[in-house]
Symmetry: C2
Subunit: 460 residues, 2 copies
């Protein structure tokens, strides 16, 4: 029997409404419209009731992309978010309900990802709202860079770049701009942004079985955010190679998707697709920044690394690049209370490194290097051989030790021992007074404390 994907959920039909209830329990500034299960709208608690005096910015679409879109509702970003069922566009009535709930005299901007269902439903809701007397503008985001043109009638898909458009529009609205000006800034931003993703696993819909489309050593390039198959399946690579490839696609001179050339400024967004650890996202950011700066001559003004626009429980990431200018940076840096927008990425960066402070006294022996190697005594030679044999044995045992340790602990004993043994072999060449056996034992202890960490290190 094929197994359902393992998820911490209740009834698969209730995942979206239950998500919204939990979101609103967590964030005090959010409310939802009392229209479950059809109407699934999250809004700013301080912007309801028709008295909102700024341009309302509304986005949304199918669910399964959490924290998008509801996690980006807050002062300075979205005024409301409309959720459909998982991977299904929200119906017209719920979009209308959101518009009616938060739109005041300044009007409302709808930011829509470029999918047929979203364009139709949001478009019809906009027409209906206009007929009710609301001022409405729409901006469509299609930031996908995975497929070369022509891309069929549907055009480029809307991906994580949409989040940056939300931020620009939300900050512009918060600054008190008119609907036309907010829409113009959002459109400008949407034309300056490109995204491409890479997946390690296929997402599983709630209550459905997990696909075996992707082999255990394969990754998918240029995927959509609804589990659509990607543009290509390749063997798993190091993240550095993956990042290089994705940046090359986004910045391709052939497709010319992005108005970015050598000398441009840009911001970078590294987005986890749902099941990607923060560690891996940061490792990708670490590669992308110098790659953009050194290989493409692009100045990276800001880096946003985190989980923004997901595809349920998919492992993998997408990279988004947006050309930046003074005004866009000001909008991106503007404060917001939207819970899922990252804190601490704004402003300019000081140097990344700071020198290690020197100890107050030169008493520590760790860094001493023997200026000249003494002739080894016979005893010294034996000690050297013994240490070398023991260290090499530990190095050979690495995998076995890890294996045994994983039965009772965290499975890193072999790796830790390997690190210690390697450092001992290294330091022995330059730092150990091998003719003095007792001194050498102390020196080994110092090496171990320096590199091994964990409990073994300190007991050494």
């Amino acid at each position: 029997m094929a197994l359902q994907g393992k998820k911490l959920i209740n009834n698969p039909d209730d995942v979206v409404t239950e998500f919204i209830e939990g979101l609103v329990e967590t964030y005090q500034g959010l409310q939802y419209l009392d229209g479950f299960p059809e109407i699934k709208v999250v809004l700013r608690a301080d912007a309801v009731g028709g008295a909102y005096d700024k341009v309302a910015v509304i986005s949304g679409g199918g669910s399964g992309h959490e924290p998008a879109h509801a996690g980006f509702v807050g002062p300075g970003m979205l005024t409301a978010a409309v959720s459909g069922d998982v991977f299904a566009s929200p119906p017209v009535d719920s979009i209308l309900a959101a518009i009616r709930a938060v739109t005041g005299t300044m009007g409302c901007l709808l930011i829509i990802k470029n999918y047929t269902g979203d364009r139709l439903n949001f478009g019809l809701a906009a027409e209906q709202a206009k007929s009710e007397g609301y001022k409405i503008e729409m901006v469509i985001v299609g930031d996908d860079c995975a497929l070369p043109p022509p891309r069929g009638i549907a055009g480029r898909r809307g991906l994580a770049g949409t989040i940056l458009v939300h931020k620009v529009a939300g900050a512009a609205a918060d600054a008190g701009l008119s609907l036309a000006d907010v829409a113009a800034e959002a459109k400008h931003a949407s034309e300056a942004v490109g995204t491409m993703g890479v997946a390690l696993s296929v997402c599983t819909l709630p209550g459905q079985v997990t696909s075996d489309r992707l082999g255990p050593e394969q990754i998918e390039l240029g995927l959509g955010i609804h589990g659509e198959p990607g543009a290509a399946v390749v063997e798993l690579q190091t993240v550095d190679v993956v990042v290089e490839h994705v940046l090359k696609q986004i910045l391709s001179q052939e497709t010319q998707y992005l108005p970015i050339t050598r000398g441009s400024n840009a911001v970078l967004l590294i987005n986890g697709l749902g099941a990607t650890p923060v560690m891996e996202l940061m490792i990708a950011a670490r590669k992308a920044v110098p790659e953009l700066q050194l290989e493409y001559g692009i100045a990276v003004d800001r880096v946003y690394t985190g989980t923004f626009m997901t595809s349920l429980d998919m492992a993998g990431l997408s990279i988004t690049i947006m050309r930046s200018d003074e005004n866009i940076l000001q909008r991106l840096d503007a404060p917001t209370k939207a819970p899922a927008w990252p804190v601490g990425s704004e402003g300019n960066r000081p140097p990344a490194k700071f020198p290690v402070p020197v100890p107050p006294s030169p008493s520590m022996k760790d860094d001493e290097i023997l200026s000249e190697r003494q002739e080894l005594s016979k005893q010294g030679c034996m000690l050297e051989a013994a240490i070398e044999a023991a260290a090499k044995e530990l190095i050979d045992l690495k995998d076995n030790l890890n294996d045994w340790d994983s039965k009772v602990g965290d499975g890193d004993c072999g790796t830790t021992m390997y690190r210690g043994a390697t450092a001992i072999l290294e330091d022995m060449k330059t730092r150990y007074h091998l003719n003095d056996a007792a001194g050498t034992v102390n020196e080994i202890g110092s090496t171990i404390r320096k590199v091994m960490g964990g409990t073994s290190g300190i007991l050494g």
Copy 2:
């Protein structure tokens, strides 16, 4: 051949230093000490150089728990974080380097998770720092509630509750309190917090093979954050059942781990273990809040839902409860620039729901219910039978349609059709004028628009 866990990394030995480089690229207020690979210390760029005029708060431990601990460095929280290798305590020298880098005349509080390696390494570093003239205090956090006492010589493990202790101590330090007072607040917080976790998958160490310890329909209760086996393995349950069980363990009257009784106030932290989608975390939060309030009589003051203290790529979550009082709430609500601390959970909650706005005119027919059913004509009966047959056919085809759709799209076509067909059968009983075939077709369209969403809905 056993396969390595799929990860977006480069050399497994470099994951920690590369994570730190990416983190510092992302957050402008952070720096790291230039001592790679041995010294892995992230610090506030504005607190270095020995001139820091508040109590420095330092934490750390093995890596693999990202964003902890480095993601919690920032004004109002940690002053520096010391990282060891994956799941290995940092060596004494790197802890000492962190202390020397950020400690001024007010002194330094070390917050340590209760593991043997951390206690030894941080403890020795503290002694060494004191001998260099620094004022140092230590607080140990052991918030694990999974195992009943006695728990062996090592005692209760430090888990995600440590993050709340960081926040309390960081805010107290930021308020200008003395080292003794900051340490007292941290100790008070550490004694009021309890945590228990549940895992859907076992974590995989970088470069190692994935464990098959957990079957495809099993979950593990009461796990550690280093891949240690949990207290029990059980069949996968709904998240509501899992949350009930975990809360019962944490609040057990038998272990009396937490000083919380009926009538107490508390804060709740729902923590993803690395690969858990935001959707699932929020669904857990949705259950935990009313469960605490209604079943245990505990007032929930704040909810923090997100990814704070992980176990590499483990799927699952932990729940933390901390007894709250005026002072703790003030510390938790105090502003911080630490990137991984959640924004928007502070302050008191307004009502969660807001009524759906009524349309401006009563022209919409959606909500009309037939006051009295007309006798059906022969044609009306035939139409009713035809609609019923078609709808039931769609309902039966749900799984097949999902399956076919997953080959070309997002695999939800069957579910969407099922939802529409079910609503049609429902509305037909009360809303369709079946004697009027053309009218009925319009009414079906209205039903579909209301519930189906997606592209099918709007085309309907």
